[in-house]
Structures are given as C-alpha cells and as structure tokens.
C-alpha cells in the first residue's frame, strides 16, 4: 500500500562565495549530479507509487474487469459501496481493529521498552524475544498461530483449557476471529515499536531523573513528567506508522480466517484483494482503495497535527 512517510530531500547545501560565472556552472553541475542521484528513486516511485495511484483513481470511476474495454460509470462504484453491507461491516471492523490495536501495541511497546531499559538479568534475551516477530514473515507466523489457536488440535486450548481458559471455536468463531487476528497483529509489531522507544529512551539525559529523585519524585511521576513527554517525538512517529499498519491489516486475515466466518474478521484491504483479484471487479476494488487511502490520510494528518503541538524539550 502507500507509505505516507516520504523522506525529505537532503538539504540543498549552501555554496561558498564564488564568482558568479563559475558559481552558475558549478550549480548546474551540482544540480545535474543531484538529479542523477535521485533519478532511480524518482523513476521507481513514479512507476510503482504515483502511476498506480493515479491509475487506480481513474479505475475507481470505471467498470473494469481488466478484460475488454472499461466502461465509465461515474460515481457508481462509490454509490454501491455505500449500499454494500459487507463494505460497511469491513469499514467498521477496520476502524475497530485500528482503534484497538494501535494504542495497545504502542502501550505495550512503551511498557516493554521502559522495563527492558533497566539493568536486568537476561535483558538481551527478552529484548530479542520481543523483537523477533518483527523480522519473521507474518504469513508464516500466522500459519503457526492458526495451529496454536485451533480448538481441536491446538496447543493453547490443550494447555490452557484445563485452567478454564476458553478459546471458543478458534479462528472459526464469529465472536473471536477478529480478536485472534488482532492478537497476532499486536504480537507482530510490538517488538519493532519497542526498539524505537528504546532508542528514544537513550536520548533522555540521566540528570533529569537525578534531579527528580532529589525532589522526591516517585517512579510513576518520573515517567509522567520526564519519560513520556520526552518520548513525544518517538511517539509521534510510532503512532503514525502503527495506525497505518493497523488500517492495512491483511496478512494474518488472509492466512488465518480468509475474512471469515461470514466476513466477521474481514478488513478493507482483504475486501480490496477479494473484489480485485477474485471477482475481477477492479473498478470497485479501486474505489475501496481510495476510501481507505482517504481514511489513512485523514488519520495521519490528524496525528501529525496532534503531536506537533505537544513536542517537548527541556
């Protein structure tokens, strides 16, 4: 999908004072070289991001099966979206997924980061254990989780069932399928965000904590008044990518539930896949993509606005 975190081009640099004529030549050469260096990225981004984006917007106004001519249908795709119960359900579930998974993942990441930032026996082991899911293939791991949750032959129900913990009907349970998909989503990303926060924690000067201790601050007060505010930059970044990742949940849905039972764990990205590549309704799928894109855009802009007002430095 789309990552909205485009990198800013490197600073254009200030040239030393040189005679004007030479400076023009130098600038031209520098500019040419700069364009040369960014050309590969521009070509690749253009071909694989900008062009598909524009072409999907165009497609969303057409009835297209990628076979034969496309027919222009105006806003019909968007109109039928509104009347599509499955789409409305998927939209609700995608937002619910994001609203639950984003804060829980980030919260756990902060918790683990703060815990594992202390001197602790086996610290490296725990850090690695929590980070490992981030480097594993989500598709493969989803297969493993599906086995773990399986109500009949799964290990979790087998071990925890006798303790009275119910796993319902596993990934086929209409009330729990989305929960399991969420658990796997959280598990997958929490380690990566934890590492971000560990990096953020390393930038907080120790003196602040020493000063706070002299003033008699308790651990919670230190976290609230020093750690959390000074992690605002990290949080802004982590929240944005966590929200985008949540809105794009697909892999574990595809592997574990296929969106079922009866669409109860289907997300918008899965709907896009299903409509596009199974039903060949590319126009409709493109319309869903654009609805999702707009949602991602709104969420990202809102988050940016929110966090940019809360940046703190001491």
């Amino acid at each position: 999908m789309t990552s909205l975190l485009g990198e800013r081009p490197a600073g254009t640099g200030t040239a030393a004072p040189v005679p004007v004529r030479r400076r023009n030549g130098l600038r031209r050469r520098q500019a040419l070289r700069a364009y040369g260096f960014i050309a590969p990225s521009v070509v690749i981004l253009g071909a694989f991001m900008a062009w598909p984006l524009v072409s999907s917007l165009r497609l969303s106004f057409f009835d297209s099966s990628q076979f034969g001519a496309d027919t222009f249908v105006g806003l019909d795709n968007y109109r039928s979206l509104l009347g599509d119960q499955v789409f409305r359900g998927d939209l609700f579930r995608t937002l619910l997924y994001a609203v639950v998974v984003t804060p829980v993942t980030v919260g756990l990441a902060v918790l683990f980061a703060v815990m594992l930032n202390r001197r602790l026996a086996g610290r490296s082991f725990f850090r690695a254990a929590i980070f490992v899911p981030a480097v594993l293939s989500l598709g493969v791991m989803s297969i493993a989780w599906d086995f773990l949750f399986d109500p009949n032959i799964g290990l979790l129900p087998h071990w925890l069932g006798p303790l009275g913990i119910s796993f319902g009907n596993g990934a086929a349970d209409p009330h729990l399928a989305l929960v399991y998909v969420m658990v796997v989503g959280i598990w997958k990303n929490v380690g990566f965000y934890m590492v971000m926060y560990l990096a953020g924690l390393a930038t907080i000067p120790k003196e602040l904590y020493e000063a706070a201790e002299v003033d008699g601050a308790r651990p919670w007060q230190k976290f609230r008044s020093i750690t959390w505010p000074l992690l605002a930059n990290t949080s802004a970044f982590v929240f944005v990518i966590a929200a985008i990742a949540s809105l794009q949940a697909f892999d574990q849905v595809y592997v574990m539930t296929r969106g079922g039972p009866f669409f109860q764990s289907e997300t918008l990205v899965y709907l896009i896949y299903r409509k596009g590549f199974q039903d060949f309704q590319f126009g409709y799928a493109s319309a869903v993509s654009w609805v999702l894109l707009v949602i991602v855009l709104i969420v990202s802009v809102a988050q940016n606005a929110f966090f940019s007002r809360r940046q703190v430095t001491y």
Binding site: A39, Q66, G68, N152, I153, N169, P261, F277
Partner: protein, 436 residues
Amino acid sequence: MFGRHKAVATMLVGAAALALAGCSSGGSSASSSSGSAGGGGTTELTFWTGLTGPDRPAVEHIVDGFNSSQSKVHVTMQITPWDVLYQKLLPAYGSGNGPDLIGIDSNQIPVYASKSVIQPLDALLGSDGVDKSTLVGPAVDAGKYKGKIYGLPIENTPVLLYYNKKEFTAAGLDPTKPPTTWDEWIADAKKLTTGSGPDGKPTQYGLALGVHDTIEVLPILMWQNGGGIASDDGSQVLLNSDATKKVASQWAGLVANDHISPVGLSGADADKLVSAGTAAMEVNGPWATTGYKNAGIDYGLAMVPTGPNGQQITLGNTTSLALSAKANKAKTDAATQFYKYWTTVDSQTYFALNTGFPPVTSNVPDSALASNPDVAMFSKYAKYARSLAPGQPNFASIQGEVFDPAMEKIENDPSSVNATLDAAANQLKSQVQKNS
C-alpha cells in the same frame, strides 16, 4: 570533471531504466511464447494449468509422453498454483497473450466461455477426435456452458465417504458396513462422537464437515432432499426452498447441538482432523488418500449415504481442458491429437494408478485398476456425480460470498436458517444466470 559527473548521472538513470526493463520483460516473456502454427512444421501449443498437487508428476509424464510420441505437435505446459493461475488468466486473454490450452476447474469454464475467450470443443469430439461415448458422462456435462461443451475432462472424480475403520470398531460399529442411508450415517456419527475435552467439546468427532474453502459437502445433502443452490439450468434459485431449508436446519443442528462435527471448518481443517484421528468420517476426493495413508489412518471408502429422496448422488470435481477462441485450424487439430493421447486407455490407466483419480474415460477395464482398490471405488461411483453450479459465470461469488458465509452463519446459529437462506437466495437472484 564535468564529463565524469555526466557519466555518473547517465549511469544511474541507465541502471534504473535497465532495472525497469528487466521487470517488464520478465513479466511478458512467459506469455509471449504463444507459438506459431508453422506450415508443415511443428505446431506449438501452450498449456496453462494449476495441477500442482500430488497429481503433478503424472500430468507431466503424460505431456512428455505425448511430445515424444510424435513430432507434429509440441505442448509446452506451465503449471502455477490455482490462485495465481486464475488471477492472471483473464488479464492474459484480455491482452491477447492467453495460452492455447487451459486446464481449469470445470466451475471456472463459464467465466471464460461467457467472455468468449474459449471456444466450443465439437471439433475435438468429431470424426477425427475422441469418441464422446467413451468419456464419463457427468465429467463432460461439467464443462458445458449454455448447452455447448467448452471443457473436456482431463481429471474427474466424485467425492466419497472416508471412514476410520479402527474408530468404527472402537465404537462397536462394523468396519465392513459403512452407513448407506442418512439414518445410519447420523446414528454412526453420533456414536463416533466421544469424549469430553476443554469447553465441553468432544475429543473425537463423528464427522469432519468442511463449510468454507473446501470441496463442498452440504450441497450433496441438499440435492439428496431435492434442494440445492440453484437448478442446473439456472432458471431457479433453490437455496431458500423448503427442501434446502430442511436439510440446512437438520445438519446445522447435528453440528451445533450434537457436535458431530466442529463448527465452521475449512476443507484443510477437516483433513487435519481426519489425519489426526480426531474425526472419524469425512466426504473427500482421492487426493486425500496419500495424506491419510502417511498419517497411518486405516480408512475405508463408501458412497455418500443416500438421503430422503433415496437417490445415489455425490459431487463431481472436474478439471476441464479448454481451447482458446483464437486457436486456428492447425491448433485445433493439434489440441485434438493431444486430447486423444490424454484419453487413450494407456494414458488413463497410468494416470489413475499414479494419481488415485479415476479415469475420465469408461473404457479402462476394471482389471487394470485392480492394483489400486481406492481408484476402483472412485471410478465405480463417478457416474453419480453432479456439478456444483454448472454454467454459472458468477460461480466464485455464488460460492465464496453467498453460499459459504450463509452456511457458516447457520452452523453458528441454527435458529437463523430461514432468515439467512432467504437473504442469501435474494443475493443469488442477481448472480445466478440461465444456462440453456
């Protein structure tokens, strides 16, 4: 200096262009080998299929055998997983790069026939071709669209009832007498549902009933009561008929209340349970035999028990060969030769014994199949097979978006049968097309 900078820039741009060119040529080279019908030379046929299962080596063996048996026709086969195949097949035909021959699930034939990218196969059954009467009837019917044959069977099988003999004995049932009617089947399934595990679930289920991403079983039960998804001619939606509702309600109740099968199984889940010995019976095709043997399951095979209407009915699973609408006379003749070779007694005997699938022709003597009793069973009941939704171009969404979700919903809440099936039938009305 300047020259070097320019060179660097040019190189970078060049590298990017090369990278892109590499991507695009890689994508199209596979389909650009459409071949040409050289006058007098070799006629080249491209053949795309998704037969990636345990049957793959046998398919490759027959294609190789055909290529070396003569010099006039050469078939180049490309095997890709089914989902990948279906994703690229229509776009390939749309862009004019489709293969000459495709081997696809018979349920997909109407998708391509309705878009006129494949052609009726009368030529293959003509005087120079294959004698239609030697082919298994339902397997030929499975490839029909609006009364014309667009797909001829290259692989065909009915599904049968697998039962675990050891578990039959343990439950006090006779492993030589599998159930033959619903009454017996249900009674056996209840007896085979034993133990109590976590959450009050049985530790062994009588039946593993797949309801999504599966070879369908519930439609067989509906047919056995005169119901179904839609009539074969597509003129009538049957999903909300009283006959269908009665079956759905009865079997959903057996699953939800008597726990004879776990709720909401996928086909793969169901197979896992049988392999693990956690389920005693399953309706499945011959592809399952290898896995169950490897898992050490001592299974027996039987016809799906008969239901209220007393008729022998099961579901047929057919892979059909279809020919591109663009194929000219030379290619059509070449395809005829290929299909003739595919359906020879030798090819069919080899294929049956090496894949477990019964022959697509009825002229293979029983004695030739005696060394594999499973094949003999599947072969015996092939004539009772019915297609799931013959001639329906919207088959994928009929199954994936309407039928399966409805069945999952009913299994989770059997009291919702009426409302769910009425709503589903309503959705089907815009998707089911007349097929005559």
